[in-house]
């Protein structure tokens, strides 16, 4: 029995918009701090088609911020833990799984690429792959209590983040992350809402403009230009 509309009919979308969300294929790279919450938000919004990239397993240091990390999922692959959870929310969800996202990773059939990665080399590879495929790339990053979200459609990622020309040198930009859970979930909420806006034709924050936040500040979010 199809209970889709009973489950997701209370979202603030028209039936046509909800169908658009249901029919869109979202790729998420990384199912950790931000990626897990992105996946959950899209799942609860009624998305049913996903392509997930993650090669990792849950470990003790993930407990502070990663949604699907628990005593039950410790040492289990993040992707399979996310799928088990998704099936309990919506049994009709269709998920393709992959390991690490790399240059040449297939984005065939993907409509929107979302960023749950924790390092600059992977983010750059994602941006270039999305540009090659002509699909939007929703950039999402969280560190400590701060974060940054934007949507790349045409503006070059390399220019936005002043990426060095020697990309072999990018390894040193890898993140050593201390991230508070609300920062990861807040960045993910902005990113997933931007993806939903893309689906239903609502405005999004496009690079070079970006949404920034710092949860320790009184005025905790603002918009500014990258690059």
């Amino acid at each position: 029995m199809d209970m889709y509309w009973e489950k997701f009919g209370r979202n603030p979308f028209t039936k046509t918009q909800q169908q658009q969300i249901r029919g869109t294929t979202f790729a998420i790279v990384g199912l950790g701090g931000t990626g897990g919450f992105i996946f959950e938000n899209l799942l609860r919004a009624g998305a049913e088609r996903f392509v997930l990239f993650d090669h990792d397993r849950f470990e003790l240091s993930n407990f502070n911020r990663q949604l699907f990390c628990s005593d039950k999922t410790l040492d289990k692959p993040k992707v399979s833990s996310a799928i088990d959870h998704a099936k309990s929310v919506n049994k009709d969800v269709r998920i393709k799984t992959n390991g690490r996202f790399e240059k040449g990773s297939s984005l065939r059939g993907v409509d929107i690429l979302l960023d749950g990665a924790d390092n600059l080399p992977t983010k750059l590879t994602m941006a270039r792959s999305a540009r090659k495929e002509g699909i939007p790339y929703v950039f999402c990053a969280a560190g400590s209590v701060r974060g940054l979200v934007t949507v790349f459609t045409r503006y070059p990622f390399e220019k936005a983040f002043q990426v060095p020309t020697d990309t072999d040198d990018l390894g040193r930009y890898s993140v050593c992350a201390t991230v508070l859970c609300p920062a990861a979930s807040f960045a993910a909420s902005i990113a997933s809402s931007q993806a939903l806006n893309l689906c239903v034709g609502k405005p999004v924050v496009r690079a070079p403009e970006a949404v920034f936040f710092d949860l320790f500040r009184k005025d905790f979010f603002w918009r500014s230009e990258l690059g």
């Binding site: 410790l74 040492d75 050593c176 992350a177």
Partner: protein, 99 residues
């Protein structure tokens, strides 16, 4: 012994991850191995915590070992972690902990 494993930096912890190639670990036997080369903190059956040579270890049955320096100011070097990994593998083999 180096053919058993790879050592990779861990982005999120600032430490290193030792991954066994196509092998798993018997955590109970790993615990015995750590008695000879360091000290065991505890074993939940899913993860074993131990200390060896100033490093704090989280050992998983899937064959992953997360390594951090006990002294947070000291940043581990890959060559040191490879030496540590070889020492652990020798002890694991002796105890029959490699599956």
């Amino acid at each position: 012994m180096t053919g058993f494993f790879v050592v990779e930096p861990c982005n999120s912890s600032g430490g290193f991850e030792i991954k066994l190639r196509d092998r798993k670990l018997d955590l109970a036997r790993c615990g015995k191995a750590f008695e000879s080369i360091g000290s065991m903190i505890g074993n939940t059956g899913i993860v074993l915590l131990a200390k060896v040579d100033g490093y704090s270890l989280s050992v998983y049955g899937s064959g992953r070992i997360m390594v951090k320096s006990v002294d947070k100011k000291k940043k581990p070097k890959k060559a040191d972690i490879e030496t540590l990994a070889s020492k652990m593998m020798d002890a694991f083999v002796k105890e029959g902990a490699l599956l």
